[in-house]
């Protein structure tokens, strides 16, 4: 099995979104870049250096790994100070670096609370605080916005933007396209351990336009609804099932507009309209099959 193979990611100053479904190899790529995992064959270079057991290089990278925040029996300030010290910030500077980092992520008020007592959003903020300590030039953020509340999400996005604005580089991995769209125009698509595409969001969008989407239209009268929908030019195929009609279309935006018009003029009951494959995995399945 190949986890990550033959991959070069050109990271410019600014934000690069690393987009890929679960299992694409994003986390593995980050772990290799941080010297946590060794390539089973070949090599990996980050900032032109091998990251394995390379303290000098690691000092230049801030990393937000996936998973929960560590050191939960510490208070926020203790955890951050510990992290600062581990990062090579000496003496009292570690205390002030930790306080500053907590303030930056909005945790100054919760500095003396145990990490265990933090909410999910606060823990995510704490992980960000760690990454900012020592002011590293490159941030590698592994699914940093996953399951965050809107407020935390807004603050963290701002933090990422600020870092990029100061000339720093950020690589942020996600499997949710809209997360990346909020941050950057530059994305890389990854699946099965390979880079599928690397470019602007617009180019990716164009690719997605050719992707047939599946929409479920819930209704108590699927046969009647099916007959109506079949007349819409954007519908590629359809299938009437128990309580719903499953429609396939290559022009989802056009289909939704036409459906809206149709439902406005026809007297037919419907219960819901759901896009069944909005998630990135479906998109990637399509892209991979196109390769």
């Amino acid at each position: 099995m190949v986890g990550v193979n033959d991959l070069t990611l050109d990271v410019q100053p600014g934000i690069t979104g690393l987009l890929g479904p679960n299992g694409a190899g994003k986390t593995t790529l980050f772990r290799m870049a941080m010297g946590l995992t060794k390539p089973s064959a070949g090599s990996i270079l980050v900032l032109e250096e091998n990251p394995w057991d390379n303290p000098k290089l690691l000092k230049r990278i801030g990393y937000v790994p996936d998973g929960d925040a560590p050191w939960q029996d510490y208070t926020g300030i203790e955890a951050a100070t510990h992290f600062a010290a581990l990062s090579g910030v000496t003496g009292n500077a570690a205390d002030s670096a930790a306080a500053e980092a907590l303030a930056k992520v909005g945790l100054a008020g919760a500095a003396d609370k145990k990490v265990r007592a933090y909410s999910r959003g606060m823990r995510q903020r704490l992980k960000f605080a760690f990454a900012t300590i020592n002011d590293p030039e490159l941030w590698l953020l592994d699914e940093p916005l996953l399951a965050t509340d809107p407020l935390t999400r807004r603050d963290l996005i701002q933090l990422i933007r600020d870092h990029a604005a100061k000339g720093g580089s950020v690589v942020i991995s996600t499997h949710v396209l809209t997360d990346v769209e909020a941050l950057t125009q530059r994305i890389a698509l990854m699946a099965h351990g390979r880079l599928l595409a690397h470019g602007e969001v617009r180019e990716i969008r164009d690719m997605l336009e050719r992707y047939p989407r599946t929409v479920r239209v819930g209704t108590p009268n699927p046969r009647e609804m099916g007959a109506l929908l079949w007349n819409l030019p954007s519908v590629l195929s359809l299938e009437a099932t128990e309580g719903a009609v499953i429609v396939r279309t290559r022009q989802p935006q056009a289909f939704f507009a036409q459906l809206q018009d149709l439902l406005a003029v026809k007297d037919i009951d419907f219960t819901s309209v759901t896009s069944l494959d909005e998630d990135v995995e479906s998109i990637f399945r399509y892209l991979v099959s196109e390769q």
Partner: protein, 513 residues
């Protein structure tokens, strides 16, 4: 020390002092003390043989000897029924073979009170020991079990033997009774180089033979020291020589003998040549008793005291069987083995491994923190136990009960800590494997399979400890070849474990998530 190292140390200290570590640390500090204290609590009494008198010595064979033992309760509480045994006998192989003995049963003895026991004995010659033993059945738990026996050697002199028991003259001294040539050889005297002969002395025994008749050729002269057996002399040493005698000539012959304890006979004899006839054969043989009386020497040893568990031995057993063999290895296991597993459990492994710290430093700092905390706990425990046992007065041999346990404990923590650090880096489930090592390999297997024993760390620590001779005073390192070897093995293996752990840490790819 750089800051990441200090911070790693601090984090590891924190784990130690956390809830998980507290009881083990406390146990390391207090278990030897508590167990020793409990032992002392149950062993507060103390009866001792305070005096052993041998009245009227020296004795000779058949004298009535009188021995008196004084037993005192030197403890701080009264003691119930116990026996006092007073015996006299010979000692062989460290054991007393009693010729006579008496036993007194004491119903009770208050603190400070004494009892006397007397034994009358009709002395028999030889070296004997008079041995007084209090509580020979070991019924009383005592603070000091080494003062329960006193033994004094006693040499009983021999009487001169009955002349009737002397060896008689051998046959054939007179020559040929039909021979025509008549001669007259006489054993004129027997002399010896010293009179008061002690066992081990080299003594020269001489026979003087005079020729009262005509010149004689080929007469055989003999001198010997013998035991008498049914009227015959069985020589223990013997010298013979064929001699020629002019008329009226006197000659001597010597034999040197290393004296032994007992009754012997000095024999002198001369055989008439076979072609002659001694006209007076009765004077061809002389015999005198040689009495070698026993002497007490430095080489003689009293009977060995009964094997009894003393507080020092008890402490040593707690130390070697429980503290060094089980408790400290478990402490080392629970802290050192978590070098990776604990970080993974706390979710901090990806954070620690991606910090600008050389990987080899991670197991070393973990080891240093574990070792330091366990060492402090051990030092406290051993020091408290020592103060409890001996107070603040430092007395010669007793200081060994402080220094040796300390060094042995530190060695144990060092080598097991290093082993479990390596284990923590190597295997996914270090605690389980470590428990199997401590309980299975180091204890159970080593107990039942002899060859395993030599491959355990515990055995080498035990060897080094044995060489420190806990009850023999201040000794900082083992002195014999075996002890030094054991020490070097422990240190070498410990360093090797740490080097391997660091090398593995640099090489290994850990599953962080």
């Amino acid at each position: 020390m750089s800051s990441p190292v200090t911070s790693l140390l601090k984090a590891n200290f924190r784990t130690w002092i956390g809830a998980k570590g507290f009881w083990l640390v406390a146990a390391a500090a207090l278990l030897p003390l508590v167990l020793t204290g409990a032992w002392v609590g149950a062993h507060r009494a103390d009866v001792a043989v305070t005096e052993l008198r041998i009245d009227g010595a020296p004795y000779s064979e058949g004298d009535e000897a009188r021995f008196t033992a004084v037993v005192t309760n030197v403890g701080k509480q009264p003691v119930g029924e116990f026996n006092i045994s007073l015996a006299v006998g010979t000692v062989t192989g460290g054991r007393l073979f009693a010729a006579d003995s008496t036993t007194l049963t004491v119903d009770a003895l208050a603190a400070g009170e004494s009892r006397e026991v007397t034994l009358l004995w009709s002395a028999t010659p030889g070296v004997v020991y008079v041995v007084a033993t209090v509580d020979p059945e070991d019924n009383i738990g005592e603070r000091d079990e080494f003062n329960n026996q006193k033994a004094e050697p006693l040499a009983v002199a021999r009487d001169a033997p009955d002349p009737a028991t002397a060896p008689t003259a051998p046959m054939g001294l007179a020559g040929d009774e039909n021979a025509t040539t008549e001669i007259d050889l006489v054993v004129e005297s027997l002399t010896r180089s010293s009179e008061g002969i002690a066992p081990g002395n080299n003594v020269t025994f001489t026979v003087t033979v005079r020729n009262n008749g005509i010149a004689v050729e080929n007469a055989e002269v003999g001198v010997r020291v013998s035991r008498s057996f049914a009227g015959r002399g069985i020589p223990v040493t013997n010298q013979t020589q064929v001699m020629s005698f002019e008329a009226g000539e006197t000659k001597t012959l010597d034999v040197v003998w290393t004296a032994q304890d007992g009754v012997f006979w000095h024999e002198g004899l001369v055989y008439a040549p076979t072609d002659t006839r001694d006209v007076n054969p009765d004077n061809n043989f002389l015999v005198e008793p040689v009495v070698v009386n026993p002497v007490v020497t430095d080489a003689m040893r009293p009977p060995e005291p009964q094997e009894r568990l003393t507080i020092k031995q008890f402490y040593l057993q707690v130390l070697s069987l429980l503290h060094l063999r089980l408790l400290l290895p478990l402490i080392a296991l629970f802290y050192a083995a978590g070098v990776i597993a604990d970080e993974r459990e706390r979710g901090s492994l990806p954070y620690v491994l991606t910090r600008p710290i050389p990987r080899w430093l991670i197991p070393i700092t973990k080891f240093a923190a574990s070792f330091a905390v366990a060492a402090v706990a051990t030092v406290v425990g051993v020091l408290l136990t020592y103060l409890f046992l001996f107070g603040t007065t430092v007395e010669g041999g007793d200081i060994g009960f402080l220094t040796t346990p300390l060094l042995a404990s530190l060695l144990t923590l060092f080598v097991y800590g290093a082993l479990f650090i390596l284990l923590g880096v190597l295997v996914e489930r270090p605690y389980l494997v470590g428990l199997l090592i401590v309980l299975g390999w180091e204890n159970a297997a080593a107990m039942f399979v002899p060859w395993v024993s030599n491959l355990t760390l515990g055995t080498h620590i035990g060897n080094a400890l044995a060489d420190w001779r806990l009850d023999q005073g201040l000794q900082w390192v083992p002195e014999t070849e075996a002890g030094v070897r054991a020490l070097l093995v422990i240190l070498g293996v410990g360093v090797a474990f740490l080097v391997l752990a660091s090398a593995q840490m640099r090489r290994r790819d850990f599953a962080v998530g």
